[in-house]
């Protein structure tokens, strides 16, 4: 039993809903009790969909459990097929139905429905949403293609040349409730189009069962979101010999590597720049002098595996940040995230407990947090700027404007999204400096939540009070004590690094055996930690 106050991922059947709702002509009969229909609002409210998810819930009640629930399931299946006329039917169960073991998938298969039935077994008590989405996509693709004759496993990367056509690829993995999938797909289509590569099928987003049947005529699979598509991609490779890309094109360097990988796999030689103009503004913006202050910014990264790893690379290679924490809530992605963290000299945080993540943020004292919407809230409480890089999705992550993460434009979006909160971080510092000036209007809105300066002052006073309290505590414990002059110096340090400086100075004072911390100790510590 696991105490959970909030969870990054829903249950696996919500993952299945993401696949069903992303597609056309697919319907999902979900054996589930009343109440599980809440999941519809994820699509209709958060993603603002103007369509109900194509899901029929059996909504059984306690009184049904005494009777024939199997008949109830069959009734719902029959009605759903008649009413919605899907071309493929997914059948599965939620956590409660799993316990009563009606086996709705087998029931459906015994009903002579004349459409392909994909039976889903998604263990609700051990797996989560992303796994459920990946498994559903895999079962669906496998179920629809199973009768198709297998291609020659020997893969010929240049067959498109022999056939006198442009190479064509599948884009696999984009779904509803994914992070900016809607716009990533457009950006990648644009990118590949500029390199003379056609799109064969995009799936699951907006794909129909007929599209799934056409998957095998592609020369290459582009695995856009490994969390969702990797199992399908490797199955297609094993059974049809179609290779797939391993690079996720988020960031300028990753996009370049992505193109290089595609060129190699398709036998296209070396990618050449299409124009003399730099395709993304990120490299120049990052190099321009205004960005000098970004150097060595401490950044804490947490999210799904794909976006967290991509963020770590962009942060270090493209923006010159220092990554001080890296983690994911996705156990399936723990291995690559651990490897990435190791490269950065860190130990990865693999956790589904947001309080643990918040504690790790506090501990590493970053100047910027790149996380999920939950880390945005944690960072707000800690007074640290934050940008959101990953699901779980929130209404703010479905912006009206075009806002991809992938490709050249994605890099531009990322530059703006990550750097603006930081600029504001400096602005906060200026506000702190000037707030005692009489021209300053009380109630000036800060971007960090809707705190007024009055509250900022209050929390500042509180932290100053805490500092005093700490000093008293310290003297009782024979710990170094801040002198009033030391405290005054500490107060001059920007709020977002003050905690770190305080800890470092105290640590230094202990090591050096100082009883009192004055401004000199503070500067001694500063020099010590620079050295």
């Amino acid at each position: 039993m696991e105490l959970t106050l909030w969870t990054y991922e829903g249950p696996p059947h919500v993952g299945a809903m993401r696949i069903a709702s992303s597609m056309k002509d697919v319907h999902y009969v979900l054996h589930a009790p009343q109440g599980d229909t809440y999941a519809d609002l994820l699509f209709t409210m958060i993603e603002r969909r103007g369509k109900r998810p194509p899901v029929t819930y059996t909504t059984f009640q306690a009184r049904d459990l005494g009777g024939d629930t199997a008949e109830l399931v069959k009734g719902h299946i029959r009605e759903a097929v008649e009413r919605f006329k899907p071309k493929t039917l997914l059948v599965g169960e939620s956590c409660t139905a799993e316990l009563i073991q009606d086996q709705p998938g087998s029931l459906a298969q015994g009903m002579d429905l004349k459409i392909p039935i994909v039976s889903l077994e998604l263990p609700a008590y051990s797996k989560k949403e992303n796994w459920g989405a990946a498994e559903t996509f895999y079962q669906l693709v496998r179920g629809l293609l199973i009768n198709q004759t297998k291609k020659n496993i020997e893969y010929n990367p240049t067959i498109w040349k022999d056939e006198g056509r442009r190479p064509k690829v599948n884009l696999l993995g984009p779904t509803l409730l994914g992070f900016r999938c809607r716009d990533d797909v457009l950006e990648i289509q644009k990118l590949l189009g500029a390199h003379g590569i056609d799109i064969n099928v995009i799936a699951p987003l907006n794909a129909s069962p007929e599209d799934i049947l056409r998957l095998t005529s592609a020369d290459l699979n582009i695995c856009l979101y490994p969390e969702i598509a990797e199992s399908v991609c490797s199955w297609l490779q094993r059974n049809y010999g179609i290779p797939f890309t391993k690079t996720v094109p988020i960031g300028v360097n990753a996009t370049k590597d992505f193109l290089k990988e595609i060129y190699e796999l398709l036998g296209m030689g070396n990618p050449i720049s299409q124009t003399d103009v730099e395709p993304s503004k990120m490299p120049w913006y990052s190099k321009s002098v205004d960005s000098n202050y970004l150097t060595g910014k401490r950044v804490f990264i947490f999210g799904d595996g794909t976006h967290a790893i991509a963020a770590a690379r962009i942060a270090t290679e493209e923006l010159g940040f220092k990554v001080v924490g890296l983690g994911t809530y996705s156990r399936e992605m723990a291995r690559p995230v651990r490897a990435a963290a190791k490269d950065l000299g860190l130990e990865a945080l693999i956790s589904n407990n947001y309080l643990e993540v918040e504690a790790a943020i506090t501990e590493s004292a970053p100047e910027l947090v790149l996380g999920t919407q939950m880390e945005r809230h944690s960072a707000k409480r800690l007074g640290i700027p934050c940008a959101v890089i990953s699901t779980p999705i929130h209404v703010q992550d479905v912006p009206a404007r075009y806002s991809p993460q992938m490709g050249w434009e994605g890099a531009n979006v990322i530059f703006d999204d990550w750097v603006h909160p930081l600029m504001m971080g400096l602005e906060e510092h200026l506000i702190g400096m000037f707030r005692h000036d009489f021209e300053f209007v009380d109630g000036h809105q800060s971007h960090l939540g809707h705190q007024s300066i009055k509250q900022d002052l209050k929390s500042d006073l509180q932290s100053e009070k805490k500092l005093l309290d700490i000093s008293n505590e310290q003297s009782a414990n024979n710990e170094p004590v801040w002198t009033p002059e030391g405290k005054e110096e500490l107060a001059k340090i920007p709020f977002f690094v003050r905690g770190k400086v305080r800890r470092n100075t105290e640590q230094y004072a202990r090591q050096a055996g100082c009883r009192n911390i004055d401004s000199e100790t503070l500067y001694d510590a500063k020099a010590h930690f620079h050295a």
């Binding site: 109440g35 719902h76 316990l99 008590y125």
Partner: protein
């Protein structure tokens, strides 16, 4: 009973389960914690409905059952003890812990009553542990509150003193307002269930007269009646008329003279009707379709028809307790279609057929209907907003007028040069 046309339907339902009521119950009693014993689905449901992220740490959570808990119930009991111990160590300010049953805990027959009993002994003097079920197989949305309040009833101290007991969660401001009006009317002892502190329970006994503020408290009412209380039968305090009839039921049973009642309530009534007027103009003659969800549908339909002039196409309700809704049904116009239960697809077919001006529905259905050009009002807002009472009648009407008003704003042309 009047001629409301009582119909029944069954099929796929689109309603919340009783766990959802934790969302307002935990705010009402800040010293209580609601621990759902369930699955990741339960945790995901509550966080999706409640906007949990704004809390540093919410006062509700889920003990998520894992495969090993399903394998042996003995272990599940031990595990739950451990989770509760950890939780209370983390939140020492908690005085009442509700163990809330869910669909999976009911299906595996995890006896939360026994767990509560055992934990009560272990935690005596520190925390009281109660249990109820919010499972979707047994409860719908607001029924969860019925379960929670019923669990509190046995702990209420016994007293046969004369008192008025208001039962059902109200917004604090609304509750204060009712209390001050009742005091003006000469009722001296007034208390509420649930109280604002879980440990501050009102007394119960033969002198207690109960006014139900919410229409979904069947089991709680039964339990209170069993302890000697008199349950007053009135329409629910939504709108001017409902609120006045509700308050008058109390004054009648306390033997308060009519002239005091009328002289106190008449000015309030006139003022409220005046405030209601602009919304009445907007809503009058408009067609209304209510889908089942909160159990407030009947009182709302009565208010929107009788005081705002709306035409009722269909009034859905998740379940119909005829005894509890007797007065409400009597006030509905002849032949009103009251649909108990749901077949959501068929119901949506009827929505499309009758083309109402406004549909009251859950969040899963609102945007899809809007996309079809049908204005909606989501029902969950009604359980979060202060809508009860005479002074709130205009606010309540405004909630329904707003979507219509918004449509007008978005369809108007103001700048002549454009």
């Amino acid at each position: 009973m009047s001629g409301a046309n009582l119909l029944k339907e069954s099929g796929p339902r689109e309603v919340f389960c009783g766990l959802t009521s934790i969302v307002w119950l935990h705010r009402r009693m800040p010293d209580a914690f609601f621990l759902v014993v369930g699955s990741r689905t339960c945790a995901h449901l509550i966080q999706s409905a409640a906007g949990v992220m704004i809390f540093a740490e919410p006062r509700f959570g889920t003990a998520i059952l894992e495969e090993k808990d399903l394998a042996g119930l003995a272990d599940a009991h031990e595990e739950l003890d451990r989770v509760v111990k950890d939780l209370l160590a983390r939140r020492p300010e908690i005085r009442t812990l509700f163990l809330v049953g869910s669909c999976p805990s009911e299906v595996i027959k995890l006896d939360l009553g026994r767990v509560a009993e055992r934990l009560n002994e272990a935690l005596i003097g520190q925390v009281r542990v109660l249990n109820y079920s919010g499972s979707g197989i047994e409860t719908t949305f607001t029924q969860g509150e019925d379960g929670a309040l019923k669990a509190l009833v046995p702990l209420m101290p016994k007293s046969d003193d004369q008192q008025l007991l208001i039962v059902g969660t109200l917004a604090n401001s609304v509750e204060d307002r009712f209390i001050s009006i009742f005091k003006r009317l000469g009722i001296k002892q007034i208390s509420s269930l649930p109280p604002r502190q879980s440990t501050d329970l009102p007394s119960i006994g033969s002198g207690t007269k109960v006014l139900l503020a919410q229409p979904y408290l069947t089991e709680t009412a039964k339990a209170l009646k069993h302890l000697g209380a008199e349950i007053l039968s009135a329409p629910f305090p939504l709108g001017v008329e409902g609120s006045i009839l509700w308050m008058k039921e109390a004054t009648k049973s306390f033997g308060i003279n009519d002239s005091l009642v009328n002289s106190t309530l008449e000015p309030l009534k006139l003022r409220a009707i005046k405030a209601l007027q602009p919304y009445k103009e907007k809503l009058s003659g408009k067609k209304l379709f209510l889908l089942p969800e909160s159990q407030l549908e009947l009182p709302l339909a009565r208010f929107l028809h009788r005081e705002c002039g709306m035409e009722l196409i269909e009034v859905g309700t998740p379940y119909l307790n005829r005894e509890m809704m007797k007065m409400e049904l009597e006030l509905l116009p002849e032949g009103t279609r009251v649909m108990e239960g749901q077949h959501v697809d068929k119901q949506l077919d009827r929505v499309r057929e009758y083309k109402p001006d406004l549909v009251v529905c859950g969040m899963g259905l609102a945007n899809p209907l809007e996309a079809e050009g049908i204005s909606t009002k989501w029902s969950i807002e009604l359980v979060f907003s202060p809508i009860h009472g005479i002074d709130q009648a205009a606010d309540l009407a405004e909630l329904f007028a707003r979507p219509l008003h918004r449509n007008e704003l978005l369809n108007q042309k103001v700048l002549t040069t454009a």
